[in-house]
């Protein structure tokens, strides 16, 4: 079989750029899982809302990009706190009810999305048109921008979790909630913070992919599916594991799509997940 090498390298590069955006979505899930021990199925819808907010505020409303992003961050913090207080808090400790409730929230957002936004696909013009050529690899600038922003956010999250007091509180709750509470950590506030942060990451990821894909209220399904595969491969609750697995899944999917087609690439990623579950059930870097 003859494979055109530059195409493969191209696939690899696109894979890394896509992977880092998956990382952004999956990190929010990891963060929420670490604190609340639930997998938030509504995450893909927050990503969709981020993209839709860009369309309605920036494209339709004519708001410049930076205020739009600020508005998106603010709205997702509010939504995150509202969801945590209104739904997650009263169900704490019942994982089945929590997961089902997050699915309920996801369905509410998505069906309201279809009703309000309509079935018409929407598109957002590129923030940064043009193509960068480097060693025979051609990459759209907007993808580089999105990946750059994602990398900065991931680094910021690392600093927040490992270098600040709020991060210390999060890690304390994750490790031993009872002791952390006794030492004066406000568990409710930490829970709100982590859900809000997770929502911000997802919404920002959505905002930066808006020019790449066409938008519809069902667009959250693919990133949420990839994120689930990523957090299983990386290990539930492990931040570094999520980052590595996200890049790996992005590359596998992109290179797999070049070699075998997009749907078969899903199959490949799925097989990797099964292999991880068989040989290393806790994930690459997770602890049981």
């Amino acid at each position: 079989m003859e494979i055109y090498l530059p195409l493969l390298v191209q696939g690899l590069a696109i894979g890394v750029l896509t992977g880092i955006l998956y990382v952004l979505v999956a990190l929010g899930l990891t963060l929420i899982y670490g604190i609340l021990h639930i997998v938030n199925f509504a995450h893909g819808e927050i990503y969709m809302l981020g993209a839709m907010a860009v369309f309605y505020l920036h494209v339709v409303g004519g708001l410049p990009l930076v205020p739009t992003l600020a508005a998106i961050v603010l709205l997702s913090v509010l939504l995150g706190v509202a969801v945590e207080r209104g739904v997650f808090r009263s169900l704490r400790g019942q994982w089945l009810q929590l997961v089902v409730a997050s699915v309920g929230i996801s369905l509410v957002i998505q069906s309201v999305g279809w009703i309000v936004f309509g079935i018409q696909e929407k598109s957002v013009p590129s923030y940064l048109p043009g193509i960068v050529q480097f060693l025979g690899v051609r990459l759209p600038r907007e993808r580089l921008l999105a990946a750059g922003v994602a990398a900065v956010l991931v680094a910021g999250l690392y600093l927040l979790v490992y270098r600040t007091k709020a991060g210390l509180a999060m890690r304390a709750i994750e490790e031993d909630e009872e002791t952390a509470r006794m030492l004066g950590v406000n568990a409710n506030r930490v829970a709100s913070l982590s859900v809000a942060l997770g929502f911000v990451l997802a919404a920002v990821a959505g905002a930066f992919v808006a020019p790449v894909y066409s938008l519809n209220p069902g667009m959250g399904l693919e990133p949420i599916l990839m994120s689930f595969l990523i957090i299983i491969v990386g290990g539930l609750g492990s931040i570094t594991g999520t980052v590595l697995a996200g890049l790996l899944v992005g590359v596998l999917q992109s290179v797999g799509a070049v070699l075998f087609g997009a749907e078969a690439a899903y199959g490949i990623v799925f097989v990797v997940m099964i292999a991880v579950l068989v040989f290393r059930p806790a994930g690459l870097l997770g602890q049981v």
Partner: protein
């Protein structure tokens, strides 16, 4: 029927059950086609919901049962359209294929804690859907058209009425099995695996928990595959856009809204919501919205589901009496 005799309320239960069965058998010839259609959809959904209940009862959550239903529907549809196999055999083959795939995935994932299972079943269903969409052998995005109805003594069951009895028979047999299963040694063992602590306890007395859980999942998916095959032949086409994530979540919603406390919970949930959903069918996304809102309200306000309503009402009244300023004796006669 020794197991029935142990129930002190046998008389009432048996009379109600017999009355419902007689009504389900005798009334349809009088009903309009639309009513028959709703009845068929309700029966199919009840079996799906009760099949899912087998694993929800042991504390496992699946957002991928539509994948197994799709496997059943596609197997039977392909056998009938491409290989001209008898539809009746196709039904069983549909169940069998779903069961084999359930066994393969269950072996790997059911050893792990609940959430890994939920996520991998979800991923499995999405991959199954993507594969059915991608390859022309499976009909691609258009699906498979002209799926035939079964033959019955030389006539094809093309009328709603004829097919209704097929669905009814399959549903009654499946539900009887699923109901009976819950009160066997196997069913009680599943109940014991509900939490991590009780699972450890069960294993300590020599119960092979993983094997029981896998078997439960296989049974659950067998009935979904079987009913999925029947469903495909009812619709006369199968398409990847029928068996989506939303299909899976509907089944979870039926279970949660009805209540996980007893066998009758998922049945109540699926009958009520399917009947309601058929009324909202033309309203498109409003149906999904209504389901989701009902789900959230039930989870937050009535954790035991509709089946728990009498007990919850009693608890609410008691609480109101305790907190009300009026003397207890005059409250709520």
């Amino acid at each position: 029927m020794a197991f029935l005799r142990q129930d002190p309320r046998l008389g009432v239960k048996a009379v109600v059950l017999a009355a419902v069965l007689i009504a389900l058998v005798a009334l349809p010839p009088l009903a309009e086609p639309y009513v028959l259609h709703v009845a068929i959809v309700v029966l199919i959904n009840v079996v799906y919901a009760e099949a899912l209940y087998v694993i929800m009862r042991m504390g496992y959550l699946s957002f991928g049962h539509a994948g197994y239903i799709a496997l059943g529907a596609y197997t039977s549809a392909l056998l009938a359209t491409k290989l001209d196999v008898s539809v009746w055999l196709g039904f069983l083959a549909g169940g069998a294929v779903a069961a084999v795939f359930a066994w393969l995935l269950g072996m790997i994932t059911l050893k792990l804690r609940g959430i890994y299972f939920s996520l991998s079943v979800f991923a499995f269903a999405e991959v199954v859907n993507a594969i059915f969409r991608a390859f022309d052998v499976f009909g691609g995005p258009a699906g498979i058209a002209n799926v035939p109805r079964p033959m019955f003594f030389g006539t094809r069951l093309n009328s709603h009425l004829g097919f209704y009895y097929v669905v009814l028979a399959a549903a009654v047999v499946s539900l009887a099995f699923l109901y009976r299963q819950a009160s066997t040694r196997f069913g009680f063992t599943l109940l014991a695996l509900r939490t991590r602590d009780t699972e450890a306890l069960a294993e300590s007395v020599g119960i092979a928990a993983a094997r029981y859980k896998t078997l439960a999942f296989v049974a659950s998916c067998f009935f979904c595959g079987l009913m999925g095959a029947i469903h495909g032949h009812y619709l006369r086409f199968v398409s990847p856009f029928v068996f989506t994530f939303f299909f899976s979540t509907d089944l979870v919603i039926f279970n949660m809204v009805g209540g996980l406390g007893s066998f009758w919970g998922p049945m109540a949930g699926s009958v009520l919501l399917t009947a309601l959903g058929e009324q909202l069918f033309a309203a498109g996304y409003y149906k999904s919205l209504v389901y989701a809102v009902v789900l959230l309200v039930v989870i937050l306000v009535l954790p035991g589901g509709l089946i728990d309503l009498p007990r919850a009402r009693q608890a609410w009244t008691e609480r109101r009496q305790r907190f009300s300023k009026a003397p207890v004796t005059t409250a709520e006669r």
